[in-house]
Subunit: 219 residues, 2 copies
DNA sequence: GAGCAACTAGGTAGAAATACCTGATTTTAA
DNA sequence: TTAAAATCAGGTATTTCTACCTAGTTGCTC
């Protein structure tokens, strides 16, 4: 452990940070890196959403680093719950993949910032400080410095309806089943699927699903 | 940075370790954690397979921590290449998911040890030391201590042929295309698919692919 | 050598998906 | 307000997939 006995700051002045991330190595790594930061106070780290909700009740934090894909209760589920309890909490969402639609989805849920796990650690640090001080963090800023994520930022530009259908396809539903779910004709669903296939440059349902899951949608 | 000026060891006595992992936060985290270990000497860390092959030529290591899913050249591809160059190298493979078939696949490729990213960091440390000293590491040992990964160790018991077909399905191939690839009848492929659907409790190609990708096969 | 699992492959029927086409209404943005 | 985009939906033909069935060959083990 790294002791910082010569630090004059007290915990009140430091940004209180918590981490919810199921990959233990990654979590412990972030913990180790954050412990070296003098202006951050790592309050707790947990491996799933249920644990997160329990801990955050006893230990208030300013910034939460949240993984979308966790067991028991995933980030997508617990994000709105926590935000309702603590509306001023800033949430930095981590996800294995980065894409326009998932970014929009996460921001709609109320996240303050969305970062791919491919990000450099310095980007995560910048983001924590920025969301705490300014209330937002623009990934654009970091892009000017680090051009590593270029290939990940594809813009598929799915329409809301297409995203809905994409999601249901990833739940193993047929066009007919999707049509019944959405109260539309199965021919309409097929039309949407054709447009999704054009946008994803695939030629089958399998291709669509492979595209979506590999990009980290709906997991 | 943590300086260890009072360490009496020289680098020759320490286990030389390298990391190939594209998720920078995770990589930097492992680096930070490994730097605290006195008996390890972290030689280099890289973000893709091509970089790995370049670096390892100039900097010999004892143990390589390798991520399966990397850009440019993935772990699956560069593992055999590197092992041919350095047959005595011990390789600890990290992967987002853990399952019996992918374990067998990785060991067949020549990896010394396979760990899920969910592992505790101490498991990774144990594994590094164990593969270096004993030439193997049994995940069973760590399981007795940590029972966290129980739900991930499902045994689907796919046959080798079924795994081949599973892989090709995840490459967006139709039964006909798979049949041509494997020089068998498309009816045979369909038969295998039916058996895969039984084992995965799904009823369509989409279901098979969703199952495979969510479990972390072929990524 | 009997039993078993794995791999092979065919028949038939029906369901689903795909590839083209067409055109309607509604919503959004310039 | 005009144009563009999104949503809806039908026709027709072909391909692919799924669900049943049967059954031969190989290789392994008890």
């Amino acid at each position: 452990m790294v002791l910082k006995g010569n630090s004059m700051r007290n915990n009140e002045e430091r940004i209180r940070v918590a981490i919810a991330e199921d990959h233990q190595i990654l979590r412990q790594g972030i913990v180790a890196l954050l412990e070296d930061e003098e202006n951050l106070n790592l309050v707790f780290d947990v491996g799933d959403g249920l644990e997160l909700i329990e801990k955050i009740k006893e230990n208030p934090v300013d910034v939460l680093i949240l993984d979308l894909n966790m067991p028991k209760m995933d980030g997508e589920t617990c994000l709105p719950i926590i935000l309702k309890l603590y509306p001023n909490l800033k949430i930095v969402v981590l996800s294995a993949y980065f894409s326009e639609p998932i970014l929009n989805f996460v921001l709609e849920l109320g996240a303050t910032c969305f970062l791919p796990k491919l990000s450099d650690f310095s980007v995560l640090l910048d983001a924590i400080v920025s969301v705490h001080q300014k209330g937002f963090y623009s990934i654009e800023e970091s892009k000017k410095e680090k051009r590593l994520n270029l290939e990940l930022e594809m813009k598929e530009n799915f329409t809301p309806r297409e995203l809905e259908i994409l999601k249901l396809l990833c739940e193993e539903k047929t066009s007919k089943e999707i049509a019944e779910d959405l109260f539309i004709s199965h021919r309409t669903v097929e039309g949407h699927k054709l447009r999704i296939m054009e946008k994803t440059k695939t030629t089958s349902t399998s291709g669509i699903i492979i595209f979506a899951l590999r990009k980290g949608y709906f997991r």
